[in-house]
Symmetry: C2
């Protein structure tokens, strides 16, 4: 197997996280998702919730984040904005995971871009049509005040803006990944199987 | 098999056409590529070369096409521009192929968009990194005055602009397809195998 690391980027509600987890289990690879946030929290002292929220924002683009953009903790953040500081801490953690040499699956957090210079990484993007995703998020996370379509669009928009801000790449543009799969059309189990075969035969 | 039609869009030099042909052979499906151009030529009277060129232009965007944009053949083209007339003829041919009920693979020509209302279609996008593609086009089509990188970029740009013009969709954006594969990374044979399995098990 020449592929040791799989990064999984995903549209909200597409089942990308489930695919990543099942794939890691099937391959016997380590799995990193919330674990990265936990490590960033340990490293920086910010709460997991705060880091998670910041990680899905477009820096300087929201009314709420705007006021904080220029705030730094002197002597610790080296004059960086909170977004840049958290990105840097997260990047370091992802690089350390990759450098450890243990095969793994990493969900999101622009890990595709962060690990772009390695040749043992397979970058995957999981997407699905709106009805598949709305049905899924209502089933998994329940109803909320916002319509599910609006929740999906807001989340995807933020992920795309955050990715663009730090990588200058378009989130979801096929040539930026090795494989992009429509989980609603192909099925979650079949996506896992396809990815498993590609990695096993690499 | 619920999938009866596979559309294959592809970056120039990615081997998308080879994948489409091998997949059609393996499935025993009909294969449509240049055949569509030949049918458009029969239907409209324009030469194959002219149709092929027009099909990869962004209407109204090139210096050469600009002058012809408003030219129509009275009584035949119903006041349409050449681009629109050819698009309409091509659309009709693609719809007829699909409606014939014979399983098939169709290469390019925005057939993914044209057949968007059918539920028996799998839309595929094939892409690859620049070195894989430059190497491939030089090997297949030989050298030319233009550098291979420039040839690739020009061709892709025109395909994207033509697709955007007629469909208002972004060419190469993963969520517009069911599967997008990096043929350079995964390998042409493996791409065929993955697609074959997905169609056979559908």
């Amino acid at each position: 197997m020449s592929i040791k690391i799989i990064t999984v980027s995903r549209q909200f509600g597409s089942g990308g996280r489930s695919i990543a987890k099942q794939l890691a289990d099937k391959l016997g690879f380590d799995y990193y998702d919330k674990e990265i946030i936990e490590n960033v929290a340990l490293e920086t002292g910010f709460s997991k919730e705060y880091i998670e929220r910041k990680g899905e924002e477009a820096p300087g683009k929201t009314v709420f984040s705007y006021g904080f953009e220029s705030q730094t903790i002197p002597g610790i953040m080296n004059g960086m904005t909170t977004h840049d500081y958290l990105w840097t801490a997260q990047r370091k953690i992802i690089c350390n995971i990759a450098d450890s040499g243990n095969p793994c699956v990493i969900v999101g957090r622009s890990s595709d871009y962060i690990l772009r210079d390695r040749d043992d990484v397979l970058n995957v993007f999981i997407h699905a049509d709106m009805p598949f995703r709305t049905d899924r998020i209502v089933r998994l996370y329940g109803e909320s005040e916002k319509k599910p379509e609006k929740r999906l669009m807001d989340k995807d928009k933020k992920r795309a803006a955050n990715h663009k801000h730090f990588t200058d790449l378009q989130w979801g543009y096929a040539p930026n990944y090795d494989m992009s799969l429509n989980s609603g059309r192909i099925g979650i189990d079949k996506c896992v199987e396809i990815l498993y075969e590609v990695v096993k035969n690499s």
